[in-house]
């Protein structure tokens, strides 16, 4: 399943870091962060619960870029 989230991130490099952090989160199959459109597209693993996974994604993203925000 794929979902798209609005995000807030200040720099392109930070967006790359977020993308990497999200990809490493359990339950996330693939993730693309677009700094320019301020959007995060997440593809979830089969059977993963998006709401729960996104909490972890947010936590991991905050770790690499404390200023970022994902609007869940």
């Amino acid at each position: 399943m794929k979902k798209s989230y609005k995000i807030e991130v200040d720099c392109a490099n930070c967006a790359n870091l977020m993308e990497e952090a999200a990809k490493k989160t359990a339950g996330v199959k693939d993730c693309v962060v677009s700094f320019m459109t301020q959007k995060m597209k997440v593809e979830f693993d089969e059977g993963a619960e998006p709401a729960a996974v996104m909490q972890d994604v947010l936590k991991n993203c905050k770790k690499v870029e404390s200023d970022c925000e994902i609007y869940l």
Binding site: D10, A12, N13, V32, S34, M36, T37, K39, S66
Partner: protein, 637 residues
């Protein structure tokens, strides 16, 4: 400006107000004697005001085991400088760094909004007439297919549909880049995203909101940014390796030379004490760190691509990703499907050779006889005659498949068809030297002449080929199912370098594969089709370009680039846009990295101080961002 940016601006101003007098005092320009500890304490006020978040991020980064980022670089460099007694420089660097960040944030945010506005075709609501005859605004998502919606002047068409009442002019520029209004009336199709200019129209929707043109285009554009080009991937990999490398290099610069100097004594004699020697090299290392911030490149490359994609879509050229923009700039050969790209795909009467009766009369007989047929050829005959056909004048219509039509028009026996039909009715006919479909006409057993019908060339076809040549395309090849003679004539007229005729649809893929082999690795091949029956070919070529593809899902799906209207000149324009964009990306990479490399070298040699370092960092970033925004301006390209 966002709240965060306003906040930063205030912090910068406050810090600057504190900083300037303090700096003048520390430099001895204002003669106030302060104890050293007081000076340190006072300088910390502007430093922390403007840079507390950077220091915080650096600390957080270390705690989360993500040591090497810009914040870390800036924190270490500035604290290092302050610790060494270079108070003014340390604080100034942090201040200017934040000025740069602010500028970058504002510039990028603004261009991002500009680009999004260019592509803003998302309709917010649809009007539905309720039982009382009043208009009600509803979420377009809730409108079911087949509903009647009302669109008033000035409103966006929310959902694709067919007009059932009223007529108006539509502005379709958001969809096609064509600024001339399009007149539409009952039974015409309207596409979502166009703007109603003059009259109220009622439209019966033919699709759901998310299946409508506007939604599809937006989806495509939004997804485009996620397909990253090689340059973007290079940059993100580069940033990953570069920052740690610079940190270690700075560490080495701070330790090795003074150690070397202490042991061997070489170069150490210039300094009064060992302490001064260490101080000098640690300061150089701090300068080195300031210069090394990679933001200029990291920000400007994706910004350039995004601006390029935005500018192109404003011109009616939808590019599905920056990787395609990159490939497009390397296109050296273009293959065309004939119908719909080079020719209009509509048949037209191009000549009437008549004897003994009038040309008008020949056309009239032909149009009359064909009045009951819906074949494109019959349509073109009726169109050429230009008057409404009165079916009462036509009787005894007899259609002979593969030959033509026999009918009585105003009581006269008329035969309209090909050579076979003429042979069948025993009329001697004349051969025609023109290419195209030849329709012979005989009246009462007597030959009256023939009509030449051919698929019309697009007005811009010839010009488009010339433009492609100027854009660096070496080969233009037409693929068609038509007869060799027709293909040769079209190819010659338009100025194609090559053509392949009498191809079956499946042969086209083989043809494209052969062309791909000819092109080799470095040169890329684009295939241009109208999206009908050529999806496999579109996906086989390096770049598939679908023309006039609005409304054709298969084409939008299979193509990498979608031209919203069917103007062949847009192909060359797309190539020019891609070249400009890639050129700017290269300029920025070379310029930013070049300046950085020179400054790094100068700082290692002790020829550049912190002021030069921060000027290089912020200056390069500003120039790179401004340069990147140029990608947006492609209208007159």
């Amino acid at each position: 400006m966002t709240k965060k940016q306003k906040n930063l601006l205030i912090r910068i101003i406050v810090a600057a107000v504190f900083f300037v007098p303090l700096y003048l005092i520390s430099e001895g320009i204002i003669d106030v004697k302060l104890p050293v500890w007081a000076l340190y304490g006072l300088f910390l006020i502007p430093y922390l005001t403007v840079g507390y978040d950077i220091v915080r991020k650096a600390v957080l980064g270390i705690r989360n085991r993500r040591v090497f980022d810009e914040c870390f670089l800036m924190t270490v460099a500035t604290i290092g400088a302050i610790a060494l007694g270079e108070l003014g420089e340390g604080v100034a660097v942090m201040l200017l760094y934040q000025v740069g960040e602010l500028f970058q944030g504002v510039a990028v945010g603004r261009s991002r909004r500009n680009i999004s506005e260019l592509m803003d075709i998302r309709p917010d609501y649809a009007n539905i007439e309720n039982e009382d005859g009043e208009l009600e605004r509803v979420d377009p998502d809730e409108v079911e297919t087949g509903s009647i919606i009302v669109i008033e002047p000035g409103e966006k068409v929310p959902i694709d549909g067919v007009i059932v009442e009223g007529s108006t002019a539509l502005n379709t520029s958001a969809l096609t880049g064509e600024s001339k209004p399009m007149d539409v009336s009952v039974d015409d199709t309207v596409l979502s995203g166009s703007i109603n200019l003059s009259g109220v129209i009622k439209v019966r929707t033919t699709a759901q909101f998310d299946e409508s043109t506007a939604s599809k285009i937006l989806d495509l554009v939004e997804n485009a940014a996620s397909r990253k080009s090689k340059s973007e991937n290079f940059i993100s990999k580069f940033a990953r390796v570069y920052t740690p490398f610079v940190c270690y290099a700075a560490l080495a610069l701070a330790i090795l030379p003074p150690l070397f100097g202490m042991i061997t004594g070489i170069g150490a004699s210039a300094y009064a004490t060992t302490g001064a020697l260490w101080r000098e090299w640690v300061l150089r290392a701090c300068t080195f760190l300031v210069i090394s911030c990679p933001c200029a490149v990291v920000i400007s490359v994706p910004l350039s691509f995004f601006a390029g994609l935005g500018g192109a879509s404003n011109q009616g050229i939808l590019i599905k990703g920056s990787n395609y923009l990159e490939t497009l700039s390397k296109v050296r050969a273009v293959a065309f499907d004939k119908t719909g790209t080079i020719t209009k795909g509509s048949f037209e009467v191009t000549a009437v050779h008549h004897n003994p009766i009038d040309a008008k009369k020949v056309l009239e007989y032909a149009a009359m006889a064909e009045c009951h047929s819906s074949h494109p050829i019959s349509q073109s005959l009726k169109k050429a005659w230009g008057k409404p056909v009165d079916p009462a004048r036509v009787t005894d219509v007899h259609e002979i498949g593969g030959h033509g039509i026999l009918a009585k028009v105003d009581g006269a026996d008329v035969a309209v068809g090909n050579e076979k039909l003429m042979n069948r009715v025993g009329v001697a006919f004349m051969h025609c030297h023109h290419t195209g479909t030849i329709i012979h006409v005989a009246v009462n057993g007597e030959y009256t002449g023939h009509i030449v019908i051919s698929d019309e060339l697009k007005e811009n076809a010839r010009e488009a080929m010339a433009a492609l040549k100027r854009a660096g395309v070496e080969r233009t090849v037409m693929l068609t199912g038509d007869a060799d003679s027709v293909a040769r004539q079209v190819a010659g007229e338009v100025g194609l370098t090559d053509y392949r005729a009498e191809l079956l649809p499946q042969d086209k893929v083989a043809c494209v594969e052969e062309l791909l082999k000819d092109c080799g690795e470095r040169k890329k091949l684009a295939f241009v089709g109208d999206g009908i029956n050529d999806a496999p070919v579109l996906s086989r070529a390096d770049i598939g370009i679908a023309m006039g593809a609005l409304g054709s899902d298969a084409a939008i799906e299979a193509a990498d680039i979608v031209l919203m209207d069917d103007d062949p000149l847009k192909i060359a324009k797309a190539i020019r846009i891609s070249k400009k964009c890639l050129g700017i990306v290269k300029q920025n990479i070379v310029f930013a990295l070049g300046v950085k490399a020179v400054c790094l070298l100068l700082s290692a040699l002790g020829l550049a101080n912190m002021w030069v370092a921060i000027a290089a960092d912020v200056g390069v970033m500003i120039l790179a961002v401004l340069n990147a925004i140029r990608c947006l301006f492609v209208r007159n390209l």
